[in-house]
């Protein structure tokens, strides 16, 4: 089976994010970059599928030179090869352009199933997987927490509010992974060493023949306002008194109830 997993390199969840003074982006100095955690679920599921059904796993990623570390991380986990799309015009593209570039790269590869994370934790757009499926013209199941594949039959579980949907489709398709699907593995040391020698193909927009005209643009980044200090409820020392005071403040000051 030919399995594709798309990954994005994002700042570590604990990294301190500072918006550039001109609002054009974030300060990248001192940031630890990691694989988007949802993409990790996708890579893990791809590897599990390969171990069960045979075949190989190809990692596709868009990003500057540093994104190679993330591709190598996925290769260390056990993927066979990678495609690294590195083009300044694509590296910070919007969801549509990103999906179009991924689709262009994937069209040139044999594929039976494509895994994406349900969203990237940096821009939180949650659109790339869906657009990718549309461009490729294959079915998609998003926010998947359980996946079973039997021949070309696909059965996926997707949680919705208060319930779970069991969705059936067939290969080829796009699956976007979310927490609960699996526990991503820790790369073995031989895996890390071997990953250094695995093939990674370099691509750019011209080679892929994709337009870099964005459908949407980030006009300006503005950091969230500093959080005002907390308030200690002191009017009454009994639980009832404190509850009454809290309710009053939520209604009158915060205006949320």
């Amino acid at each position: 089976m030919n399995i594709i997993a798309c990954v994005k390199q994002v700042p570590d969840t604990e990294a301190q994010i500072k918006v550039k003074a001109d609002g054009s982006g974030i300060e990248e100095g001192g940031i630890k970059w990691v694989m988007n955690p949802y993409d990790e679920f996708g890579v893990e599921e791809a590897l599990k599928l390969k171990e069960k059904a045979g075949g190989d796993v190809t990692i596709v990623s868009i990003g500057p030179a540093r994104a190679m570390e993330t591709i190598r991380t996925a290769l260390a986990m056990g993927a066979e090869k990678g495609v690294h799309i590195d083009d300044p015009a694509l590296n910070a593209a919007d969801a549509y352009t990103t999906a179009a570039a991924l689709a262009a790269a994937i069209k040139g590869l044999p594929y039976d199933i494509i895994f994406c994370g349900q969203r990237a934790i940096d821009d939180d757009s949650a659109q790339v997987g869906a657009i990718l499926a549309e461009i490729l013209g294959v079915p998609q199941v998003t926010f998947v927490t359980k996946l079973e594949i039997d021949g070309t039959k696909v059965k996926a579980v997707r949680p919705i509010e208060g319930a779970q949907l069991v969705i059936e489709t067939s290969l080829p398709c796009v699956i976007t992974a979310t927490k609960g699907l699996n526990e991503p593995r820790y790369a073995s040391l031989p895996g890390i060493m071997k990953a250094k020698k695995k093939p990674v193909e370099a691509k750019n927009a011209a080679a892929l023949g994709v337009s870099t005209d964005a459908k949407s643009k980030v006009a300006k980044m503005i950091p969230p306002p500093a959080r005002p200090p907390g308030k200690i409820l002191c009017a009454d020392d009994t639980p009832e008194g404190k509850a009454a005071e809290l309710a009053k403040l939520l209604r009158e000051e915060a205006k949320v109830i």
Binding site: E14, A15, R185, Y186, S188, G191, M193
Partner: protein
């Protein structure tokens, strides 16, 4: 009787060797020869088994140092004495036998070597004292053996079991009965001889055991006594020769393997782990098969006497976990005994036509035939088992806190901890199969250089309050304060860092920190088997430290202290490393800080493993407490080298604990001595003891404090802030 020697009599007291046994000499030599051949064959087989498997390792260098270890632990039995009952028991047998063997050698030397030249030295007063000493030490052996039988079969202490299941084998009884037999028959022979000859040899009263025992034979005809003497003589001889022949086939082998193991003890600093040298080209990492141990690690298991000293203080075992260091070593031994014959046969088959190889091949054949014979038709070699998972189960592997109790207290100098870490390395680096919570810890260490996973940019935030400069701001300082992860990120640990920084400032010591340039020390990665991650972190630290020209380092966490001091030199990181208790004790001694404010309470000091057993820092923390005005100190039952781990070492800090909690067991020991403060010198211990106090619902009456916090309080330089009353009425104008 050889000519030219004065006859035995008053003034020339002595004993006729081979009395009543003149004609036995030839047979004695014959049987001794047979016993020696059986002994030699057994030893040769065992030698082949020791050398058939395992990676190379040098343990024969620095012979002077090694002879000292042999003297200390093999001859003087220092480690054995540390437990009174078994120490005395073993000492009686060991020293008893030692003297008896020398005595027999004296006898033999005189009879076979000097007498033919007309010289007899076991005469007169020397003989009298000699015979008294021989009887005395014979009596010691007798007492020792009776103590051993009593202990093993009547008292049955837990350490001679695994979780209450006795692990005695028939061999244990055979060995003790052989010794008992040798001594009892020896005394009976002596008594019968004295019974017959005492009138001619009244000085035999010096052989006081035989003399008194002879009274039991009062009334026996000399003729019958002589016949009994001859019979007992042969029984004694056969038991003694049987004992010699039995050595290589029984636990008596420890007479050879245990001293050898003392001789081959590692000379590296306590707890230092051998680094993996070449990640790029090595094919396998850690220990996944028996062959991946070094030969010495395998030999260790053959030096084990199942005494159970290790188990007696193992925090995992004593809180009902699977691990028993004794069982682990014994399981490896059993596995080795299963696998070694085939390895020996393969080595012999490949060894060419040397005489020893030929002898080896003959013995291989004999041993194989023996197995066919014993197993009946169709001998099957034992089923192949996996080292990790089957011989050593995964619980055992991960239960260990690396506390070093087993190694410190092992009377055979067995090195348990590196074996465990080696197998962990295999599980982590090769199989990438280990606890999910530990995977998270490692990811945190990879991404944010601390096990908690707090953003690495926050590492120096604690220092803002006290105005500590980083080396980037001012590198011209005497000491680098290596804060470590707990001191930087853990709320409780940060308070310790602040207290210690204030002490240094008050004492006028020039120091700085690395701030966000500091990395995790990597101890938890190293001891949890992730050597790759550990080396990455260690190298990052070493690089920064060297760039600033750091020479002296102080650490408040014994894990960082130990790693920087012992393990960083493996990567060319050579610094003078101190623990903050060493520095504080020194500041107090020099009068640079004054402890003037009474801090009332009953303090008990909990020895951190990585400070005590690993680095022999036992006294400085105690001196600090002794200098605190108003503080009363008590020791917990387990202290110093026998201290009980808090449960957090060996990466256990980051793992789920099953069954009874080790920290609760330790906190209970502090409660038992009525301490109200557990003083510690380690942030892991601080967390574990604080939690233990809470688990016993003692947080109202007990507290765990770092020594730096206690000292800062006792210095009285800071007004103690009352707890902030958030709802206090605003002060009236």
């Amino acid at each position: 009787m050889a000519h030219g020697i004065a006859p035995i009599g008053i003034g020339n007291e002595g004993r006729q060797v081979f009395w009543n046994a003149d004609s036995f000499e030839l047979f004695l030599f014959l049987f001794t020869g047979i016993a020696m051949v059986i002994f030699a064959v057994g030893l040769f087989r065992r030698w082949q088994m020791w050398t058939a498997m395992g990676k190379p390792e040098i343990r024969m260098d620095n012979v002077n140092e090694r002879l000292k270890l042999l003297w200390r632990n093999g001859i003087l039995q220092i480690k054995t004495w540390q437990d009174p009952y078994p120490g005395v028991m073993h000492g009686m047998i060991f020293f008893g036998f030692f003297v008896l063997i020398f005595g027999a050698a004296f006898d033999a030397t005189e009879f076979h070597i000097t007498e033919p030249f007309g010289i007899a030295f076991l005469r007169g007063k020397f003989y009298l004292v000699f015979s008294m000493i021989m009887d005395l030490f014979g009596l010691f052996v007798l007492i020792g053996v009776l103590m051993a039988l009593w202990r093993r079969y009547i008292l049955r202490p837990d350490r001679l079991t695994y979780k209450g299941q006795p692990d005695s084998t028939p061999d244990d009884a055979i060995v003790l009965l052989l010794i008992l037999g040798i001594i009892v028959t020896g005394f009976v022979i002596e008594a019968l001889r004295i019974h017959v000859t005492w009138q001619q040899a009244p000085w035999e009263v010096w052989s006081f055991v035989g003399w008194n025992l002879a009274k039991a034979f009062a009334g026996v005809e000399p003729g019958s006594a002589k016949a009994m003497h001859a019979a007992t003589w042969w029984i004694h001889t056969f038991i003694a020769l049987g004992f010699i022949a039995y050595i290589p086939y029984s636990r008596l082998m420890h007479i050879i393997t245990t001293p050898a193991n003392h001789f081959m003890t590692t000379l590296k600093p306590v707890g230092q782990l051998e680094p993996i040298a070449d990640f790029e080209n090595a094919e396998s990492f850690g220990v996944g098969t028996l062959e991946e141990f070094t030969w010495k690690q395998i030999f260790d298991s053959d030096a084990c006497t199942r005494c159970g000293r290790c188990q007696d203080g193992c925090p995992a075992y004593l809180t009902g976990k699977h691990l028993s260091p004794k069982k682990l070593v014994q399981d490896i031994k059993t596995y080795w005994l299963e696998k070694a014959p085939a390895a020996v046969a393969a080595k012999n088959a490949a060894a060419g036509d040397g005489k020893l190889a030929k002898l080896g091949r003959i013995l291989d054949l004999v041993s194989l035939l023996g197995k066919y014979k014993m197993a009946g038709e169709g001998y099957q070699p034992p089923a192949e088992r996996a080292l990790i998972g089957e011989v050593v189960d995964l619980h055992e592997l991960w239960d260990c806190t690396n506390c070093m109790y087993c190694m410190e207290n092992c009377s055979a100098s067995i090195e348990h901890v590196p074996k465990i870490v080696g197998m962990r390395q295999y599980k982590v680096l090769m199989d990438a199969d280990f606890a999910p919570e530990l995977q998270l810890t490692y990811r945190n260490m990879e991404n944010n250089s601390n096990p908690w996973g707090v953003g690495s940019h926050l590492r120096a935030d604690w220092a803002k309050e006290v105005g500590v400069k980083t080396l980037a701001e001012d590198a011209n300082v005497e000491y680098l304060f290596y804060v470590g992860c707990a001191g930087s990120f853990d709320d409780r640990g940060k308070k310790v860092s602040i207290a210690f920084a204030k002490i240094l400032q008050a004492a006028g010591i020039s120091f700085g920190i690395l701030g966000t340039e500091e990395s995790c020390c990597g101890d938890s990665a190293m001891r949890g088997g992730n050597e790759y991650l550990y080396q990455t972190l260690a190298q990052a630290n070493i690089e920064v430290m060297k760039a600033y020209g750091v020479k002296k380092i102080i650490a408040t966490c014994p894990h960082g202290y130990n790693a920087l001091k012992k393990d960083y030199p493996n990567f060319d990181g050579n610094f003078e490393v101190y623990h903050h208790t060493e520095i504080i004790a020194d500041l107090i001694a020099q009068g640079k800080i004054k402890l003037q404010k009474p801090v009332e309470g009953t303090f008990t000091y909990h020895d951190s493993c990585f400070l005590g057993r690993y680095n022999n820092v036992y006294e400085q923390p105690r001196k600090i407490l002794a200098a605190v005005p108003g503080a009363k100190t008590v020791e917990m039952a387990r202290n110093h080298g026998k201290s009980f781990c808090c449960g957090a070492g060996g990466a256990r800090m980051w793992m789920e604990e099953h069954g009874d909690r080790i920290n609760d067991a330790r906190a209970k020991q502090a409660i038992d001595v009525n301490a109200d403060t557990i003083a510690v010198g380690c942030p892991f211990c601080l967390t574990m003891m604080s939690d233990g106090i809470k688990d016993h619902s003692k947080e109202e009456s007990m507290v765990a404090l770092d020594l730096a916090e206690i000292v800062w309080k006792a210095m009285g330089l800071e007004e103690e802030k009352a707890p902030v009353e958030v709802c206090a009425a605003p002060a009236e104008e």
